[in-house]
Symmetry: C2
Subunit: 152 residues, 2 copies
DNA sequence: CTTGAAAAGAACTGCCT
DNA sequence: AGGCAGTTCTTTTCAAG
């Protein structure tokens, strides 16, 4: 774990929301010179605070209008079973995120599809046939809001 | 919805995973010249395919070792109730994502906390006291894997 | 830490095939 | 639509105070 002062936290917060902000622009907003801000960003990068820079896509514009969250409870879950499941689920292109969780479910999947009938196809032919699948629960996303998080 | 050819899809896929790639570097990888690649990126941007550039954070390194997914069923859910709930939930700093969903739950929250006892505090004092909260289900994240998605 | 400047690289523009 | 050559801009990096 890394210790950050208030300025560092402001930088991290800003870059988490908009990674295109330059060191100069950020510095101006925080009352720092361009090199000073740049060095801080560099230090944070070397400390491994940033895991990657991603571009968020507008999936609707790309023809994927349906996002569904699946909670999956495995029927049998030895070590082999988990690995089999994970390997099989990784082969489904419509699966965006695989989360291994502890609680009522064993896995949570974020699945995108073109429409509901496309999702039905994925669910019946790909999800329900996964090795070891027990109970499956689905929640269809209506809207999603991202918040700054605890650093905000 | 927008029509993309194979090259466009390769560009979108690449930028979704690494937004720092320059038009020149991307073009080389795809057998395109720098201006050709740049013009495609520009066209995609103007079409609104990209929604924003975010920097993924290593939350563990920042001292937030616990991520929990909450499914929340409201007890009462008229229009006012939904708005009250959303406003109240937006005031909790530990909440990273708020998803309005259709299915067994009404909302799904992604919550981060420093550790489990910190999470307990958030759950008892912030979540359980939200207006209209009925049933709450929690799944603690063990690991998370992002996949390229249907464009990959 | 700052200012100032140089170097590198990326973004953008016309023109041509 | 793609490529080439060139210009302009930003970002990065290095001085020196």
């Amino acid at each position: 774990m890394i210790a950050l002062d208030e300025t560092d936290r402001a930088i991290v917060r800003a870059l988490a929301e908009d990674s295109t902000a330059s060191a100069g622009a950020l510095g101006r907003r925080l009352g720092l010179s361009q090199p000073a801000c740049w060095r801080r960003i560099q230090r944070l990068r070397e400390a491994g605070v940033f895991r990657g820079a991603r571009l968020d896509l507008d999936l609707e514009k790309l023809g994927f209008g349906v996002t569904v969250f699946l909670g999956i409870k495995l029927a049998t879950k030895g070590r082999v079973s988990l690995e089999d499941f994970e390997r099989a689920v990784s082969a489904i292109p419509e699966v965006q995120i695989v989360e291994h969780v502890l609680g009522p479910f064993d896995y949570r999947l974020r699945v995108v599809a073109r429409d509901l009938s496309d999702f039905e196809r994925v669910l019946r032919r790909r999800i329900m046939t996964l090795p070891g699948v027990g109970n499956v629960e689905a929640n269809v996303m209506l809207s999603e809001e991202r918040r700054p998080g605890p650093l905000g």
